[in-house]
Symmetry: C2
Subunit: 293 residues, 2 copies
């Protein structure tokens, strides 16, 4: 019995952090990843536009690539277009918001959580709604500079952490800028939380680019605050959803290597160049697809 093809979709490269977490958990599966790079970023666009783009991308993965399960590895599309995607295709569809809220609930003692994400995700208040259904109060903040800082690789986590711990190692100026931007965003958010009577003990990284900044966040959050990575949470939830089918299919094929096909709607060269940083391994040859945008 062949293993099912799992479709993973993002507006760009960030969703490769979710794919990476999935491959860690079920390396014997087949994956088809689509980055809608011609039309990124979704985070600054309207709900109507995002829904149209996301539905077209979902149909490509299901109808043309045979995906039998779809993971929306993009917080913005999960927040604004999950219904539109579920209407567009007939396979199970999972977003990253619900798993993130569930993981936050499991981690929080105070039941107050902070969420950082793109403009569009925050304006949708999808995390607030998902957290409320878990019995949590959520305070959200848009941090739109973090995606470009990650894409430009103004990060060097190990060095920054060393400097933060010992004040000795030189901090590369580019990484120091990113650390300062994170410090400013967190100061603004924790200050607002205090003013509104929140007592948060969890920070949700509500954008699939942010896992690459996790070491910087670990160094910047107040003592005792736990960090929830929606990429990890979504991968856990996806594995649970497809577990029965996959377990039986994989029973006789535990040594099967991961099969991965990557597609992009533009900038294939940039995808190949930057993607490995998000995936943690080479993305291989990326195929260009035209969704008519």
């Amino acid at each position: 019995m062949p293993t099912p093809t799992i479709g993973v979709f993002d507006s760009g490269f960030g969703g490769l952090t979710v794919l990476r977490a999935l491959i860690d958990r079920i390396p014997q599966a087949q994956f088809a990843f689509l980055g809608d790079t011609a039309r990124l970023p979704y985070g600054s666009k309207s709900r109507r536009t995002i829904a149209r783009y996301a539905a077209e991308s979902a149909r490509f993965l299901v109808n043309e690539q045979g995906a039998e399960f779809l993971l929306i590895a993009c917080n913005t599309a999960s927040a604004l277009a999950l219904d539109a995607i579920q209407d567009a295709v007939s396979v199970p569809v999972l977003g990253v918001i619900e798993p993130g809220a569930q993981a936050a609930s499991a981690a929080s003692q105070t039941k107050d959580v902070l969420v950082i994400a793109t403009d569009a995700t925050v304006q949708s208040h999808a995390y607030t709604a998902a957290c409320r259904s878990q019995g949590l109060r959520a305070l959200e903040k848009a941090c739109p500079l973090l995606v470009p800082l990650v894409e430009e690789a103004w990060i060097d986590a190990s060095t920054v952490i060393a400097a933060s711990a010992a004040e000795a190692a030189p901090v590369p100026p580019r990484a120091a800028v990113t650390a300062e931007v994170i410090r400013i965003y967190l100061a603004e958010l924790t200050s607002e939380a205090a003013a509104r009577g929140f007592n948060p003990d969890v920070l949700v990284l509500g954008c699939t680019h942010y896992p690459l900044l996790r070491p910087l966040f670990e160094a910047a959050v107040p003592a005792g605050m736990r960090i929830i990575d929606s990429a990890q949470a979504a991968a856990d939830a996806a594995v649970q959803s497809i577990n029965g089918r996959l377990a039986s299919a994989a029973a006789g094929s535990s040594a099967r290597p991961t099969e991965l096909r990557c597609f992009a709607t533009d900038s294939v060269e940039k995808f190949e160049r930057l993607g490995s940083r998000f995936l943690g391994q080479p993305v291989g040859k990326v195929q260009l697809v035209d969704l008519g945008g």
Copy 2:
């Protein structure tokens, strides 16, 4: 005789700095501005995609809004799609690259110039070619973090300049981040210039977002280096191109108020909210148009 309608096109809001410079010079004209905000940023996309988007936008301004002259107020589209736009419409089309190179030539004594712009503009080497035809050597650098920093308004030029001059006034942390990013980019660029034997005395701001950063650049460039703003240079060139026609049309109507119609392909609310910062006056009601993207 009615004044001609001047069409001004950008992928987003940045081109409003060019429109502002045009309105300063010919306030009695009629303007139609289109920001292709559903598909921004162009700077990270391929030539093929940019050419298609820009041609569709140009046809809207000429065929549906009656523009009789088209100014491409976007360095990326000017660099990668000027030919495609000129093929798409039958009116005169002017980009921002040639005027920028001409102004740089007039300002430079050493005939070595630095150019900063988006990724796509730099990779096209359009400024290098335009500068070479003016007898200049150009060294280009992509500065992709500057557009998001401007759009997020992490700028407070007056305070930063005061602090730089006197080390006394407190620098707002957000503006200090932008000043530091500019310092890093300029240090990398001038270091490369020195290594390659350049002796530059002019810095070209090759992106229509950058005029809002001009005070920060003034504080950061080496002593004696002149700054050329391609928005101002393009507005000067546009006025020269349409001067005869406009002068006769405007002879009897010097008190006519500026007529301005603004269009965007998405995020009309964001355009209205942010646009005034670029235009220097309210943009008024922005109309949503669908170019099929």
